[in-house]
């Protein structure tokens, strides 16, 4: 047997469909007070019939008094027990009998009528003195008055209404200097700013080669007919095992032109020349022992043809030495700047948040950081173990007020909240996300496009006061009908206390009507 909890507005069709959808052979329907099913006993009979057709056993549970009456009648009828208790046959005024079967002319009914008789009653005669009668009447009247004043009936209604989930998302703008306006979906925004200083030290990741250059002398040979001056700084190359070492002249000098030698008497037709030559002081172009080469090594004069000029170490090059040390790289400088910006931005966000009002929100991603001063303690390439950046920045952020967002949503809610409902405050979640700086959206320290998503519930637009107005002065039956008719109602409880015969009406004084609305 499966329990099915019905709601007030579940009508006979929806309940039949629920029963059909169940796999269990037994179904117990829990019918709430004021259910539409109790508007007509035929609803219950039809439920039984359809359950029987589906091969299911159906039972009913309810707190509704009228419903309990109907179920009693239904059970009596089913049991074949005193069917006449509620059949129209019993009532003499409607003992309709079609005579059509016997007399076609009289398809009209023949009916009998009996005026109901009241049982005879007599009241016992009691002799009272008029004086005592009057006193008793006054006492009774006073007691009744006191009773009514102190224990005047109070009506209590507890209504439980269903809430429906609602999720809506809208894009709005937050603009500095703007007013909150539902037509443009804009809320006002303000800019907060703060100044911060900080420094960061980064370990040097560069390396630098330091040491001494090898020194010696180089002879340059001139094989041309003109003298040639070589200035200090001119370079010559020494190639060995695929590497080239450069040597730099450390003095300026001129190399004389070649000279023709005296003819050889044996071979007068042969002309020979002697190259002009000059020794220059020189050193290795870089530090290191590689430049310590011995004398007699051939060198190329950079920028000159070997057929015109050539060089040779005139002495051993000595004294060349080197070592690798840490130095500041460009990347170290960049890293320090980036890290300090992040640190300052993070600190700035924290600082700005500490300045926010209780209802004020900082829009993430809207921070703008403007450096005012910045200094590094080393240059790139400096031999150093670390580099330190010290910076002062101004940080600005865009803020909005949550109340403005909620106010705008309330005004926009006409578009997505069905008539007769309002947004519930229960479990309301409002998520605001900046859309960022893209082709279609803006995110700066003065303006932002925001995606606002509201997850909440909508509930029937009823208030305790409205219900009191509707109930005041009504009969119990009318009051229950009014309560049962409330849109999206799940269940209700209604009572009048104390229960005084002939005073079963809701008080007209609304202070004596107590209404609570629970929104599930």
């Amino acid at each position: 047997m499966v329990d099915v909890n019905l709601e007030i507005h579940d009508d006979v069709i929806s309940v039949i469909n629920k029963i059909k959808d169940l796999n269990d052979a037994g179904v117990s329907l829990n019918i709430p007070e004021g259910s539409v099913l109790f508007d007509n006993i035929l609803n219950l009979k039809l439920l039984k019939k359809e359950a029987d057709k589906s091969g299911k056993t159906l039972s009913f549970q309810t707190e509704d008094l009228a419903g309990q009456n109907l179920l009693t009648m239904l059970n009596e009828e089913e049991g074949g027990n005193n069917v006449q208790d509620f059949s129209i046959n019993e009532t003499p005024t409607e003992t309709v009998t079609s005579l059509g079967t016997e007399t076609p002319q009289s398809g009209r009914p023949r009916r009998s009528f009996t005026v109901p008789k009241m049982p005879a009653m007599t009241l016992p005669q009691v002799a009272f003195s008029k004086k005592y009668l009057v006193i008793a009447a006054v006492v009774l009247f006073v007691l009744l008055g006191v009773f009514l004043l102190t224990r005047a009936p109070k009506a209590t209604a507890k209504i439980v209404v269903n809430s429906s989930p609602l999720t809506k998302s809208v894009t709005i703008k937050a603009i500095v200097g703007s007013a909150t306006d539902p037509t443009t979906k804009t809320i006002r925004a303000t800019t907060l700013s703060t100044d911060l200083s900080d420094s960061v030290t980064e370990t040097a990741t560069g390396t630098k080669l330091i040491g001494k250059t090898a020194k010696g002398s180089i002879t340059i040979y001139n094989k041309t007919d003109a003298e040639r001056e070589f200035k200090k700084g001119a370079t010559l190359s020494y190639k060995k095992d695929g590497t080239t070492l450069k040597f730099v002249l450390t003095e300026t000098a001129t190399v004389p032109a070649r000279t023709q030698d005296d003819p050889d008497p044996l071979h007068p037709e042969t002309i020979t020349y002697t190259s002009g030559q000059t020794d220059f002081k020189a050193e290795g172009a870089a530090v290191g022992t590689d430049y310590n080469i011995t004398s007699g090594k051939s060198l190329d004069v950079d920028g000159k043809s070997a057929s015109d000029f050539s060089g040779k170490t005139a002495t051993d090059f000595t004294g060349g030495a080197s070592q690798t040390v840490k130095a500041i790289a460009e990347a170290d400088k960049t890293k320090a700047a980036t890290e300090l910006l992040n640190t300052l931005t993070s600190k700035g966000e924290t600082t700005l948040k500490s300045k926010l009002g209780s209802d004020q929100k900082l829009i993430a991603g809207s921070l703008k950081v403007t450096p005012s001063t910045q200094s590094f303690n080393h240059l790139v390439g400096d031999q150093a173990d670390s580099i330190t950046l010290t910076q002062t920045v101004t940080i600005q952020g865009l803020t909005y007020f949550q109340a403005d967002v909620e106010g705008l949503l309330t005004k926009l809610s006409d578009g997505f909240v069905p008539d007769g409902y309002v947004l519930s405050d229960k479990d309301k979640q409002i998520d605001v996300q900046a859309l960022g700086q893209t082709d279609t959206s803006v995110l700066t320290s003065t303006q932002a496009d925001l995606q606002v998503t509201i997850k909440t519930y909508i509930v029937p637009n009823i208030t305790e006061d409205t219900i009191k107005d509707q109930l005041a002065g009504k009969s119990v039956d009318e009051a229950k009908r009014i309560l049962g008719g409330i849109k999206n109602i799940k269940t209700y409880e209604f009572s009048i206390n104390p229960s005084i015969p002939f005073l079963q009406k809701v008080p007209k004084d609304k202070n004596k009507i107590f209404v609570t609305i629970e929104r599930n």
């Binding site: 539409v36 039809l46 019939k49 419903g67 398809g107 009914p109 009504k474 008719g485």
Partner: protein, 403 residues
């Protein structure tokens, strides 16, 4: 002569009047002009209402209903000059309990029947009818605290010594038999309708049973002693009325109507209620393609089966009726659904019900009600038959001179 607890008030033009029908999905208003005994429709108004504004005929969302009625009245009267309109409001479903009560008195004397004697008998019949109505509503709702109010009472026939007569006073007879139809409505509903009329500036001359009104105009077309069954398939209920000898013997209401058909189309096709309503109407008018029609047809199948089971059960509620007339008239907005006629005509559901002969079903259209003409051409749909029939109450209020 129809007796109503309101009365025909004086109006600027006594030949113009409004009828209003408030159903679960809409308020409908027709403006009439009584011309030479024929009630001519000169204005038509219909305003849709949200679901659940009406529950089983009872007003739940008063403001919505008032607005819908006001809009419907505005539409129907936009071309009329009068501001104060004589108005008849119809009630049906669970808001209207009507039945015929008959008293047969053996006088023991052959003296002429007096007016006073008939009046006393009428009063006793209505008192008894009232008691019966209270019993009936308790049986239907399980609630014996619902206060009822008489909204309609009218003699159906008078017999002297077993012979029908139109003039009983002054005629000698041993027995007098008098049948009176009386309709009752819950007091809170009557108050709501009165409040609504007052608010809208309507001159409410009657709150009447729609079933009774339909019979009154139908009798002019068929026969005065009509034997039939009326099946009114309304928005959220189906009313069944048993008519013998031109009088409504009893009515019962099944809480299933067009709204449920629409809801099922909405659920099965995954469309909104409003869209489903449009689809259903197009289907009823044969405007859908064959494949579309098949989808709607299959969507309706389950709910129509339940409806038919409910109809069978409802007939079982008329325990005092030994045989039913085989003439069944279908009326109401959903009667135009082709499946309804097919279902009731072919299904073997009637086998368990004691019909005098195999039943035959007929739809009632406005064109069959010869005492009513539609000068607007806008009231031809079945949902306007009952509001139009309320003009029959106007005729009876004016002394039956029109028919």
């Amino acid at each position: 002569m129809l007796n109503l607890p309101f009365g025909l008030n004086k109006s600027s033009d006594p030949f113009k009047f409004l009828t209003i029908d408030i159903s679960a999905d809409s308020a409908k208003c027709l403006a009439f002009y009584n011309e030479n005994g024929v009630n001519k429709i000169i204005g038509v108004g219909k305003q849709a209402m949200e679901q659940n504004a009406i529950r089983s005929g009872s007003i739940v969302e008063y403001d919505q209903v008032e607005q819908a009625v006001e809009d419907a009245v505005m539409q129907a009267t936009e071309d009329l000059e009068e501001r104060s309109h004589q108005t008849i409001i119809g009630v049906s479903g669970d808001m209207c309990l009507g039945h015929m009560t008959t008293a047969r008195v053996v006088r023991g004397t052959g003296a002429p029947v007096t007016q006073k004697e008939l009046a006393e008998l009428s009063k006793k019949i209505i008192d008894s009818s009232f008691a019966e109505a209270n019993n009936k509503i308790a049986q239907i709702t399980g609630n014996s605290d619902i206060e009822l109010e008489l909204i309609t009472s009218t003699p159906v026939y008078t017999k002297l010594d077993e012979k029908l007569t139109n003039q009983a006073v002054g005629v000698s007879a041993e027995t007098v038999e008098l049948a009176i139809y009386a309709a009752f409505s819950p007091t809170y509903h009557v108050r709501n309708l009165q409040r609504l009329s007052k608010k809208l500036g309507l001159n409410l001359i009657a709150i009447g049973s729609e079933m009774y009104a339909l019979i009154s105009v139908l009798k002019k077309v068929k026969t005065k002693h009509l034997d039939c069954i009326i099946m009114d398939i309304g928005s959220d209920t189906t009313d069944i009325g048993i008519v013998f000898g031109g009088g409504i013997v009893s009515t019962r209401t099944l809480s299933i109507g067009g709204k449920h058909f629409t809801e099922m189309v909405s659920q099965k096709m995954g469309i909104t209620y409003k869209e489903a309503d449009n689809v259903k109407k197009s289907y009823a008018l044969g405007k859908l393609t064959k494949s579309e029609s098949l989808i709607v047809q299959s969507s309706l199948q389950d709910v129509l089966d339940i409806w038919l089971d409910g109809i069978e059960l409802t007939f079982g509620e008329f325990t005092g009726v030994k045989t039913f007339s085989p003439n069944i008239y279908l009326v109401g907005g959903s009667s135009q659904l082709p499946d309804i006629m097919e279902l009731v005509s072919k299904e073997p559901w009637t086998h368990s019900i004691p019909f005098k002969n195999p039943p035959e079903f007929y739809k009632i259209g406005l064109d069959e009600l010869t005492s009513i003409t539609d000068a607007t051409g806008r009231a031809a749909t079945p949902d306007f038959v009952l509001p139009a029939s309320l003009s029959g109450i106007y005729d009876e209020l004016r002394g039956g001179q029109n028919g």
